[in-house]
Amino acid sequence: MNKSIMIVGVGGQGSLLASKLLGKLLMNEGLDVKVSEVHGMSQRGGSVVTYVRCGEKVYSPVIDKGGADCIVSFEKLEAARWVEYLKKDGVIITNTQQIDPMPVITGAAVYPENILEELKEKVKVDELDALSLATEAGSAKAVNIVLMGRVAKYFDISYDKWINAIETTVAERFVELNKKAFELGYNY
């Protein structure tokens, strides 16, 4: 199984945990795995991207334009920002949440109104209100795991293995919450 997955969002939304979970799951499958993150300044509310790649042998730790099988987006504008990285037959799984970037807040730019509709005209988009589902699971912070639940639909890896990866990745006191969040995303 060769897969290239991008996790994109706004700094502070929890993309690092999502990539950690995915990396662990894929390594448990006996695959070669590379996960590329960015730390530091860009994490402060900026646009963040994490690359996850797996296969028999993975060389490049990053994904280039036209290279992602799947883009998991924590915020809809970010899905649009990275759309060129999607493979021709790839899928965007996106949270429908809107977080205004500073240029929009200050009035220097406008948040494009129908961005999801425009995306849908061009590529396959699987959208869900992950924030509501996460809140339903018990914490708005579980958006990342809700989205992972949705991602699982596109992988040929059993539900139990995902759950096992959650149990071994997140802190014990958050396991139940995250299992619930995963389930809500998966069954959405």
Binding site: V33, S36, R44, G45, S47, P61, E78, K88, M102, P112
Partner: protein, 579 residues
């Protein structure tokens, strides 16, 4: 055991397995996790030093005493530590000494994208360059062996894509070599002219021996494929080359970037039809290969600016890359911003409102340069705000002194701001220094520092008292303000700018992201009272935005700092209640 580790974690694991016993560093992206993760091993003594020079000298001392030691830093940190590095090259080591330096091509979190490989050449020190986590672990262990065998400090060069990429490593047990007994050796360790003159020939001989090692070592390796194309490459560039070419090209993969082999490169070149070099940033390998009189293409095809990628490599070789879909709508930028409730914001607002010239420094607070605050006039390097302000005021005279300040964080002040302050006191300029004390090293992800009262392991530690320190260097006017109180900040700034002597304002409030900080409930806007004046928007707080002509506060982001409330002339912003 198999583990998925980021490159920095693999270096830390390598330090552990190699029996390294002492690590001293100053944090800096993308190097920070090396030391943070090494600190998780109880068997390694780890510490945050006030700056990279101190850290390297601590590692030197530990090596001198016979133990394996390490220090880690970002590329610009090596500028600070360059002084000990160049002479450590002469003294050599007792216990193995490894220096990790992490470059940041593409400047994800840096002020420049200098290529640290130049340092290895200039200081005549061997440098290893891993291309993934597996090599990061292996090379760290090899670096200690080379250090002890060849009597030299060894540099390990990381870069963002190696440091912050996770890949699979095979771990093994820790083996601690016996501590070498301390013996006084003046010829080797006292670098005064008579002795240093004798050590320089040793350095040159050592480089010759290391070059011989490069000729045969498996740190460098040939990967034969089609011989139509031969590519010499290293680090992440190697990964991109392999991604693009697989077996369709032969590759000479360089793991020891200094010194580079001679015969091996000539031999590789003789076996391939056309020779190329793929390396990020400067043409270091290329210069070497060209000096050997070989015909090669490198920087004609590849930029010396920014990061590479597989598509960039493919396109440079005229290969096709994947197609993709685009959208027409322009996507607004999403630059990093100061967090909602960031204690720096209040002080920046006051400085911006009063049109004060602000010499800035390195840290989260560099984000004060962003609109709408646009509060900074300069950012150069660690500590330059304080020393720079003194020069600015000496050049600008009284007029400048009355309307210019500098801002520097607590950790940056400890790093190299205090020396600038000593200069201000000693050489008497009426400079006003503002220390933005958020009680942590923020930007790099919350590391302790000498002002926080905790060690790297979270244990209680000596706490430098900034007020006392500033007074001790000769500053009489030292005052503390709360940056959540705009009136207090404004009064302090105005008074200190008028004062006829140097002064320090400590703007003190802990970073809101610290777990120990209790956050207040979100404030809210009473829409009826909001007159759409947009005063609150001047703060550039990510929690405040205008919707339908009225200000709105995002309750998931607001931490109740209350600064916006102080700006609202119509009492439209309501407190969300007590803690």
């Amino acid at each position: 055991m198999k583990e998925l580790l980021i490159g920095n974690g693999a270096v830390a694991r390598g330090l552990y397995e190699a029996g390294c016993e002492i690590v001293s560093s100053y944090p800096g992206t993308p190097s920070t996790e090396i030391t943070e993760l090494a600190a998780k091993f109880d068997d390694i003594y780890c510490e945050w030093a006030p700056n990279e020079k101190v850290a390297m000298e601590v590692a030197f001392g530990a090596s001198l005493r016979g133990k394996r030691a390490c220090c880690a830093m970002k590329h610009v940190g090596l500028n600070v530590a360059a002084d000990p590095l160049f002479t450590l090259s002469y003294t050599g080591v007792t216990g193995g000494l490894v220096i990790c330096v992490a470059d940041d091509p593409g400047m994800h979190s840096s002020q420049n994208e200098q290529d640290s490989r130049h340092y290895a050449i200039a200081a005549k020190v061997p440098m290893l360059e891993p291309s993934d986590s597996k090599e990061a672990l292996e090379f760290t262990k090899r670096a200690f062996e080379i250090s002890e065998e060849y009597d030299t400090p060894v540099l390990i060069k990381m870069c963002t894509r190696v440091a912050h990429s996770q890949s699979i490593v095979e771990t093994s047990d820790r083996v601690v070599p016996e501590t070498k007994p301390y013996e006084k050796n003046m010829q080797k360790y006292i670098m005064m002219p008579a002795m240093a003159k004798k050590r320089h020939p040793f350095v040159e001989e050592r480089t010759a021996k290391l070059t011989a090692l490069a000729e045969t070592s498996d740190l460098n390796r040939e990967e034969w494929g089609s011989t139509e194309i031969g590519i010499i490459t290293s680090s992440t560039s190697y990964q991109y080359v392999k991604e693009v070419f697989g077996e369709e090209a032969s590759v000479l993969k360089i793991g020891m970037i200094n010194p580079l082999p001679v015969e091996r490169i000539k031999n590789f070149a003789s076996k391939v039809k056309k020779l190329y070099i793929v390396e990020e940033l400067d043409g270091i390998i290329e210069s070497h290969v060209k000096n050997l009189g070989l015909e090669v293409e490198g920087k004609e095809m590849f930029s010396n600016i920014g990061e590479f990628s597989q598509n960039m490599v493919a396109q440079a070789f005229g290969k096709e890359v994947a197609e993709f879909d685009s959208i027409e709508t322009a996507v607004p930028m999403r630059p990093p911003v100061m967090c909602a409730g960031c204690p720096h914001r209040g002080m920046y607002y006051v400085l911006s409102k009063n049109k004060i010239t602000v010499l800035g420094d390195i840290g989260c607070y560099t984000l004060g340069a962003q609109a709408p605050l646009s509060a900074l006039d300069s950012t150069l390097c660690m500590g330059a705000s304080v020393s720079g302000l003194h020069g600015f005021n000496k050049a600008g005279g009284k007029e400048s002194e009355g309307k210019s300040v500098c801002v520097i964080g607590d950790s940056t002040f400890m790093h190299s701001g205090v020396t600038g302050l000593i200069n201000i006191a000693y050489n008497a300029s009426n400079s006003t220094v503002i220390i933005l004390d958020n009680s942590i090293t923020g930007m790099t992800g919350h590391q302790q520092n000498p002002t926080t009262g905790y060690s790297i392991k979270g244990d209680p530690a000596a706490k430098i008292d900034l007020e006392t320190l500033c007074r001790a260097v000769g500053i009489n006017r030292v005052r503390v303000v709360d940056p959540y109180n705009l009136k207090e900040c404004e009064e302090a700034v105005k008074e200190e700018l008028c004062a006829e002597e140097p002064s320090v304002i400590i703007s003190r409030r802990p970073c809101v992201l610290l777990k120990s900080v209790k956050l207040k409930p979100s404030f809210k806007v009473e829409a009826d009272k909001c007159k759409s004046c947009k005063m609150c928007m001047k703060l550039g707080c990510p929690a405040i935005s205008m919707h339908g002509g009225k200000a709105e506060i995002d309750k998931t982001l607001c931490v109740g700092c209350g600064v916006c409330q102080q700006l609202c002339k119509f009492d439209a912003i309501e407190d969300g209640g007590a803690l």
